[in-house]
Amino acid sequence: MYWVVPVPERGLTISPDGDNFTLEMRDVPVVDQPRWPALDSIAAPARMTFKMVWKSSGEPVRFEDASKHFRFTGTRAFCQLEAQVEVPSIGFSWKSDRLETSKCDYAVMGEEVNGRYYDS
C-alpha cells in the first residue's frame, strides 16, 4: 500500500495503562513526491527517521459506521512529532526542531475493528 509500511518489532512502545504510544522508526524508505497527487508529479527516493508520541486526554470518543463496517472506541489525544528527512538524489535534508515544539490539532487513540471483524 502506498502510505502504509510495516513497523519493526520494537518500533512501537505502549505504556502499561495504554495511555501513551511512542512510535520510533529509522531510515524508513519513502517517496518524496511534492506535487502528489498530480499525475506528472516527479517522485524521488527518500529516507525518513521520526519519533511520534500520542498521549491520551482521557476524553472518550467513539466513531462507528455500519455501512463501512468499522467501529473505533478510544479517547482524544495529544500528539507530537520530530522527524528527519533525506532526499539523496537532490542533496536535500531537513530536520525538525525538538518533539516538544510541534503540535497537532487532532489526535485519537484506542481500539478499532473493521471488515470481517466488525460483526464478531
Binding site: 513497523v7 495504554g18 489525544a77 531537513w94 489526535a107 471488515g115 470481517r116
Partner: protein
C-alpha cells in the same frame, strides 16, 4: 495426390502444435523437475500484506483524512490498537541552514497494531501510515 494429402495432414495446425508440444517435453520436464526440487506444493492464498480500506483504493492512494468520524485505521479486516493524528505544525532546518516550517491540514500519521486477516488466515502485525 495421396502424397500431397498426407503432406498437408502432417503440416496441419494441430499437427504442428502436437509436434511442438512433444518437442518441448524433453526440455520442459528436466527444467520443471529441477525447479520443484525440495519444494512443497503450496496453495495460492495471496500475500500476507494487509488489505487496504476498499473505498480508499479508487485512485490507488489508500489515503483518507484524519478527522472526527473517519476511521483511524488504514488497513481493512483489522482489530487492534490504533492511533491517528493530523494537522501537524512545527519548524525545522534544512542542510543549508534555512528554516522551513512543516505541516498542513493534511499532514497526518497513524499506527495500527493487532490482528488482521490476509492470506486466508489471521496475522499479527504493526503498521504505520506516514
Amino acid at each position: 495426390m495421396n502424397l500431397r494429402c498426407t503432406s498437408r495432414r502432417q503440416l496441419s495446425r494441430r499437427g504442428i502444435l502436437k509436434s511442438a508440444a512433444l518437442a518441448s517435453l524433453p526440455l520442459a520436464f528436466p527444467l520443471s523437475g529441477a525447479g520443484l526440487q525440495g519444494q512443497q506444493p503450496t496453495t495460492a492464498n495471496g500475500g500476507s500484506d494487509p488489505y487496504p480500506i476498499p473505498w480508499l483504493d479508487k485512485n490507488g492512494s489508500h489515503n483518507q483524512p484524519g478527522m472526527p468520524g473517519y476511521e483511524p485505521s488504514h488497513i481493512y479486516h483489522f482489530k487492534g490498537r490504533v492511533a491517528r493524528s493530523s494537522t501537524f505544525t512545527g519548524m525545522g532546518t534544512d542542510n543549508h541552514g534555512n528554516r522551513i516550517a512543516f505541516g498542513t491540514a493534511t499532514t497526518d500519521y497513524g499506527v495500527m497494531q493487532g490482528e488482521y486477516w490476509a492470506a486466508r488466515t489471521p496475522q499479527q502485525g504493526t503498521f504505520t501510515h506516514i
